[in-house]
Point group: C2
DNA sequence: ATGCATGTGATACACATGTACCATGCGAAT
DNA sequence: ATTCGCATGGTACATGTGTATCACATGCAT
């Protein structure tokens, strides 16, 4: 019944079980046993493939980051004009469909951990927001040079503000204050004020 | 050694011990025993004044809300012009000093709970963001009628965007992406673009 | 003085958790 | 055929958790 199994496949199976639990019930419910059951394997196997719980947590977190990155590239890939790229970057994070709702919720579940166990998980994902922000700055700068944004606009400030706004909007959607469409409308409204009236999505 | 003790005083002593733990180590470390030790009382007393842990969690959460509200009124009280009031509302939430850092961190600690145990804690604090937003809308509308904001501006959209931005900026500060002053600078920049150039703090 | 409610202490209980340990089946190399 | 390492199952152990229970002291009303 044994015979050289695909380690990566098993690890993914287990890690995604954890992410599923983190999404639906929160990370505090993601015990080793719960993950094992959700993944359909024995507790021993979870230990076997991820010696410690911290290892499992870290690996699953890395996978979550990869998933978000993949989604973002998929969304950006469909964009052509600079404004479309910017819109893609920002609205892709918003919890408007099932996938982004899942990713956002799960990220939020991890967020608390990052704040208290900063040294453990922190160093793995803290650079990502900065990378995203500088990428957004680059896109905004390109849009400004293409004449889609007024030249006197400060794109660094705009990028930081938009990113923070999108995060905050995501929070409000998850908290039930408004739905995804309303959040997207707010984002679009602010993009309308940043970009000059002309071409656009 | 007994003799009619002040219940409210004891409850506050214990609830604030929990908030202190939630701030520094996160809510997952706030066990009944840890709270008892932090408050300098026996485990039995925590049980006595808050029968169940959920009760303690809820009471402490309510107190946290009160603290934030008090801070906001204190900040607003020093403001005179409409723009100053708006600035006070928004920057008061930003983790720029020790108090707001504490409040923001602790709120974040609760946020995860609200997402998973929505029915329990949710109904107690979910209305507050909406109230805050409509209050901000009212202030912005007043500012617009006072000629401090261009008449074609959509104040509802602006209010929602600003509030979300401030929340997102707070997240980034807590996550160590930037410090409180940088966050405040980003907020100020956006307020500069919303308000017409004239008077202001 | 007695009894009862209030405030406080110590401890027990049942359960969940992360991890460690022992056992077994199976393929491959010797 | 034996041996060895990989993959897996089962289970034990120590600890931490929320809550319940027993015990005792003190103040107030009778």
């Amino acid at each position: 019944m044994t015979g050289k199994v695909d380690h990566e496949k098993r690890r993914r199976q287990i890690a995604e079980a954890l992410l599923r639990i983190a999404d639906t019930e929160g990370l505090q419910s993601a015990s080793m046993r719960a993950v094992a059951t959700e993944a359909g394997v024995s507790l021993r196997l979870v230990q076997y493939y991820f010696t410690t719980k911290e290892g499992l947590l870290l690996d699953a977190f890395a996978r979550l980051g990869t998933q978000l990155q993949a989604r973002m590239q998929r969304w950006i890939g469909e964009a052509r004009a600079p404004r479309e790229v910017v819109t893609a970057i920002l609205s892709c994070i918003l919890p408007t469909d099932a996938e982004s709702r899942r990713i956002t919720r799960t990220y939020t579940a991890y967020y608390t951990l990052v704040l208290t166990d900063a040294e453990a998980i922190g160093k793995h994902g803290v650079s990502q927001p900065d990378l995203l922000e500088s990428f957004l700055v680059k896109q905004l700068r390109a849009a400004r040079e293409a004449g889609e944004i007024a030249p006197e606009r400060d794109v660094e400030m705009a990028a930081a503000g938009l990113l923070a706004m999108v995060n905050g909007l995501g929070q409000s959607v998850l908290g039930g204050q408004r739905d995804g469409e309303a959040a997207l409308a707010i984002l679009t409204h602010h993009l309308d004020e940043l970009f000059l009236p002309s071409a656009g999505g």
